[in-house]
């Protein structure tokens, strides 16, 4: 199986799916000749032409709204928002339009669009090129929110998202684009939406996470393994709707839970997961459900020292695991 970076896996998903399904097309700022600011769509313009790889004006509501309109006619648009920090002007289109179209028409109309956006810090992007904005979307019935962590999943989940009959917001961690490599098959395959993956089995603590933090978490799990702390690491993959079964089954097994996310602590998905565990696995718990997340400040700072201080890493996660193990 060929090795690909996370970024190449996403590109490969787009190419394979566009080749297979004529209804699929890509639209966004700079996705054409430039191939996207991260080069995710590099070469697509040459391969599929200006009609299916569409450079758009700086108009996020227009981009998502146009995708919605095209989906109404049966197409399968994949809209790119250049950074997750700029998805806000499209919030109304995503939440009030895309996510409600099926429900508000009692199933007469549907809205199978994908909105891709790079998110996350660690590339010196400071306040407006680093945000984790998934919490804006994880309280919207009708929507799905997907965040892959591995190249294999990135491709399989993106193809599944494109084929899904409902709107999907698909966040890609910028730091994974070039640093993460893995085996990624040629051709189309899907990884089902709505299912988490147990990346490491363990008996003492369940760690729930997604995106870049999965990798820091796995490193941390190895660090503490030597100390006799056996951690199960669950990659959530879909944040909305959550895979409750996998989450609850894991924590019923281990009796302790740590949730790790790069998004701010307060109001992040961690609260929802903690609440779910409390509600449905309370009697299994041997310790408080813990959350480890970015501090409650607007986003990472430009200054390198502050950026490093802001960001989670394996050491911080290992520390939280040790504390929880000692509880």
């Amino acid at each position: 199986m060929p090795e690909r970076t996370f970024l190449e896996a996403i590109r490969s998903a787009l190419i394979d799916e566009m080749t297979t399904d004529q209804r699929v097309f890509v639209l966004g700022q700079d996705v054409g000749v430039k191939g996207g600011v991260f080069l995710v769509t590099d070469g697509l313009y040459q391969q599929f032409g200006a009609c299916r790889v569409i450079d758009m004006p700086i108009a996020e509501a227009g981009i998502v709204g146009a995708a919605i309109g095209a989906a109404l006619h049966g197409l399968r648009p994949v809209a790119e928002i250049q950074f997750a920090d700029y998805i806000q002007p499209a919030v109304d289109q995503i939440i009030n339009e895309a996510a409600k179209l099926r429900y508000r028409s009692a199933g007469d109309w549907t809205c199978p669009i994908v909105v891709r956006a790079p998110f996350g810090s660690g590339i010196h992007g400071a306040l407006y090129h680093s945000q984790s904005t998934e919490a804006l979307f994880t309280s919207t019935p009708g929507l799905k929110v997907v965040i892959p962590a591995t190249p294999y999943d990135a491709k399989g989940l993106l193809i599944a998202a494109i084929r899904d009959p409902d709107p999907v917001v698909f966040f890609e961690h910028k730091q994974l684009y070039r640093t993460m490599r893995g085996e990624v098959p040629d051709g189309c395959y899907t990884v089902p939406l709505g299912t988490a993956a147990v990346r490491r089995t363990g008996r003492q603590i369940s760690l729930f996470t997604y995106g870049l933090m999965l990798h820091h978490s796995l490193t941390a799990a190895e660090q503490v393994a030597d100390e006799g702390i056996d951690v199960e690491v669950v990659d959530l993959r879909t944040l909305y709707p959550l895979d409750r079964e996998t989450i609850l089954a894991s924590v019923r097994n281990t009796s302790k839970a740590l949730i790790v996310h790069e998004d701010n602590l307060t109001g992040g998905i961690g609260g929802e997961i903690s609440a779910l565990i409390s509600e449905h696995a309370f009697e299994y718990l041997d310790a408080p459900v813990r959350r480890l997340a970015s501090p409650d400040v607007p986003a990472t700072a430009f200054n390198e020292a502050l950026e490093a201080h802001f960001m989670l890493n394996a050491d911080k996660i290992a520390h939280a695991l040790r504390e929880l193990a000692a509880y």
Binding site: A70, R102, A106, D108, P165
Partner: protein, 351 residues
């Protein structure tokens, strides 16, 4: 498909100035009478909804009174079920002109499970029918324009010819950012889409000069690289002529058009509104002169398409129709409570 929508398939208009206006436009007498009946039909539904709202049976009314000629005039230029229409809450008359029935509208207004627009989920005013290609909208002003643009983009991508999208909105909506983004994309890509502004001079209570920076909304078109056309929105023929030209432009790949229909909202914004608070008394009195139904009726009489007897008979029949539709709608039972959870997500099989 409704009678009105056949007009766009009519033979090329006979431009003989001796002919009455509708014949010049290639419209038959029957088509004119059907439009008149349709406009009166929808006015009756409008009346009935206000009445039902006082009885607590319809919880929301948003009137199309005064806008009927604009909507019926455009409908003549739309092939329902082929072209896409993306309406707003004011477009009850359009929905009817495109093929929805009085019963459909009353089921919608009374929130019944058989409401074809939303299964009783949406407030009145959110007309929708996939069969007729009337697109479901939200209440969020201006947010639907981009969907019409996206539909037009889809035709471009699939290479479909001879098809267009048309969308409707008030002058107030033209201040919204999403409206601008839709217009911009349509202009940049010269997409097959027609934008129809039903300019009634008010956004609820706010008069146009406090919400629109120019006298004519059509002026805005120049900034988007498309023609802007002003028509008397109470004159169904003027509207039809403009809409037909615009739709033909769109369908033949010549790009988008913005049409501004100047007209009057004859009633308060909705049943929750009291327009005497913000409209001068003289203006309210003068509204009667701007009723598009009166105008079309007078035209039909002048040109011998109609006489007083036939008009009275028509009105009686339409009255009976709305009574029957109201009765039928009222009798539809509430949906099962668990249906609240239906249609949230589709199944994989769909894809």
């Amino acid at each position: 498909m409704s009678m009105q929508t056949d007009a766009s398939l009519a033979p090329p208009p006979a431009n003989d100035p001796a002919l009455p206006r509708h014949r010049q436009l290639g419209l038959s007498d029957e088509q004119v009478l059907a439009a008149l009946a349709g406009m009166q039909r929808v006015r009756n539904v409008d009346d009935r909804l206000w009445q039902l709202s006082r009885q607590g049976k319809a919880h929301f009314v948003i009137t199309s009174a005064g806008h009927e000629a604009a909507q019926f005039g455009c409908a003549w230029a739309i092939r329902a079920g082929h072209d896409y229409s993306v309406p707003y809450y004011r477009d009850m008359a359009l929905a009817l002109a495109l093929g929805q029935t009085s019963l459909d509208l009353l089921l919608h207004g009374m929130g019944k499970p058989t409401d074809p627009a939303s299964g009783g989920r949406q407030m009145f005013g959110h007309f929708s029918s996939r069969a007729l290609r009337i697109v479901s909208g939200s209440s969020s002003v201006g947010s639907h324009i981009v969907h019409a643009v996206g539909l037009a983009l889809a035709f471009r991508i699939t290479g479909e010819q001879d098809i267009a999208a048309i969308t409707f909105f008030g002058e107030g909506a033209t201040s919204e950012g999403a409206w601008h983004e839709g217009m911009t994309i349509a202009g940049v890509q010269q997409l097959p889409v027609v934008f129809v502004c039903e300019n009634n001079g008010y956004a609820i209570s706010v008069p146009a000069h406090r919400e629109v920076p120019v006298r004519d909304v059509a002026t805005k078109a120049a900034g988007y690289g498309m023609p802007g056309v002003i028509v008397d929105g109470t004159d169904i023929f003027a509207v039809y002529a403009a809409a037909r030209t615009a739709m033909q432009r769109a369908r033949s790949g010549e790009g988008p058009t913005l049409i501004e229909c100047k007209l009057h909202r004859l009633r308060p914004h909705s049943n929750a509104d009291d327009h005497s608070k913000y409209r001068p008394a003289a203006e309210l009195t003068a509204l009667a002169q701007h009723d598009p139904i009166d105008k079309l009726r007078d035209y039909a009489m002048q040109h011998g398409l109609l006489n007083v007897e036939r008009w009275q008979a028509m009105q009686q029949q339409l009255k009976a129709e709305v009574d029957a539709a109201t009765l039928a709608a009222d009798q539809v039972p509430n949906p099962p409570l668990e249906s609240l959870y239906d249609h949230l997500y589709g199944s994989a099989a769909e894809a």
